[in-house]
């Protein structure tokens, strides 16, 4: 009997219940067969699985030549921060790699961006508090989608004292794969990114916690 009702086109099923019963029976018999096979060849199956798994792990092992992510630059936690050289408000060039040994918060922002503006006062307070311990905030203005005068006016308005640099071409935003403004990178004394915060505003507590972690790490690396 051929039934095409309810979308069933296989020969022999009058309705869904019959098909369901058949599937259950088949499943039961399959399970019974598997039990028999396993009781007979169980040890061999386990041995094969073990050998196959070990072989798979050995083939997929991590090659030593490319084992150290710290040597690779990428805008991602655990990698070396991509280098940048940009002019600040006085026209002097600031290079990120020259700040090694210090903890850097690299904040990419624009003056029209409300969350960027909202987190700046907290960053200024933290900078003032921790500057003596080797913290530097490097505010990279995404000047390709902002204008320099507005950025400087905003910085003067709220009294920012940390360096502000201008990314006129948008090259740094591309290098750091910025998907939202603001984006902040917490970089340790070795130049390695330890935290990426996309979006904002960052709260003062978050800033303090992340900086404290980096300061502890810095102290540990300095102590013999």
């Amino acid at each position: 009997m051929i039934s095409k009702k309810n979308g069933l086109s296989r020969i022999g099923y009058a309705n869904r219940e019959e098909k369901f019963l058949d599937i259950r029976l088949n499943t039961f018999y399959t399970c019974e067969n598997m039990k028999q096979v396993f009781s007979k060849y169980g040890n061999l199956i386990i041995l094969f699985t073990f050998l196959f798994g070990s072989g798979w792990i050995w083939i997929s092992r991590n090659p030593d030549s490319v084992n150290d992510p710290v040597k690779i630059t990428a805008p991602q936690k655990g990698f070396l921060a991509p280098d940048l050289s940009l002019p600040d408000t006085n026209g002097e060039i600031i290079t990120l790699s020259e700040l090694r040994g210090q903890i850097v918060i690299l904040n990419i922002w624009a003056s029209w961006c409300t969350p960027c503006r909202a987190e700046m006062p907290a960053m200024q307070r933290i900078f003032k508090e921790k500057e003596s311990q080797g913290l530097i905030v490097l505010a990279v203005n995404a000047t390709n989608q902002d204008d320099q005068v507005s950025a400087i006016n905003f910085a003067n308005e709220i009294g920012l004292t940390f360096p502000i640099v201008f990314d006129e071409t948008g090259e740094i935003s591309r290098k750091y794969q910025v998907r939202a403004l603001p984006t902040s990178f917490f970089i340790d004394q070795a130049g390695v990114i330890q935290k990426v915060v996309i979006g904002g505003p960052m709260s003062e507590a978050l800033l303090k916690i992340e900086i404290e972690k980096l300061l502890v790490k810095q102290k540990e690396s300095k102590s013999p």
């Binding site: 090659p63 490319v66 084992n67 690779i72 991602q76 990698f79 507590a205 978050l206 303090k208 916690i209």
Partner: protein, 159 residues
């Protein structure tokens, strides 16, 4: 890696979208099979809702408890919308405990409820892996094997 999906003028955060789609598909699948385990679909929806709410609350509370002194002068930071202030481990624990309490109060059979929840967890696990693959945030180790993908400066195992 494709963190942003551009459709005309719209820029959609793909990892988030994939997680939402995963949760929706998981719920849809679980709803279809839930009656086999004699669990009402509504109970599943409630469990997922409770897990989400208490998971987020727990993740934030655990984050605060790890460094409470940082919040003493900044009480507004407690309700900050920044997702970086979440502790995933704390979130999972709180979500699991709150679901357990809900299940006990509603007298849901433990093992059958877990069986009914399996499709949600299975589909969500796939969505989570795909979301990581899309954002590039959970990348594999470096490799020179044929299935390696170019990510973060070298060829790597996909997430």
């Amino acid at each position: 890696m494709m963190p942003i999906l551009n459709i005309g003028p719209l820029a959609i955060q793909l990892p988030g979208l994939l997680l939402i789609v995963g949760l929706y598909l998981g719920l849809w699948l679980a709803e279809r099979y839930s009656m086999r385990y004699r669990i009402q679909p509504n109970a599943l929806y409630n469990i997922v809702f409770i897990a989400l709410i208490f998971g987020i609350l727990g993740a934030r509370l655990f984050y605060i408890f790890r460094s409470p002194e940082m919040f003493t002068g900044n009480l507004t930071s407690i309700v900050s919308l920044n997702y970086a202030m979440l502790d995933p481990f704390g979130g999972i624990i709180t979500a699991a405990i709150s679901c357990l309490i809900y299940g006990q109060r509603k007298k849901l059979p433990f093992w059958s409820t877990l069986d009914a929840l399996t499709p949600i967890l299975a589909v969500f696990a796939i969505a989570l892996g795909t979301a990581h693959f899309s954002s590039g945030s959970a990348f594999g180790m470096a490799t020179d094997l044929p299935w390696g993908i170019e990510l973060w400066g070298t060829k790597r195992h996909p997430s």
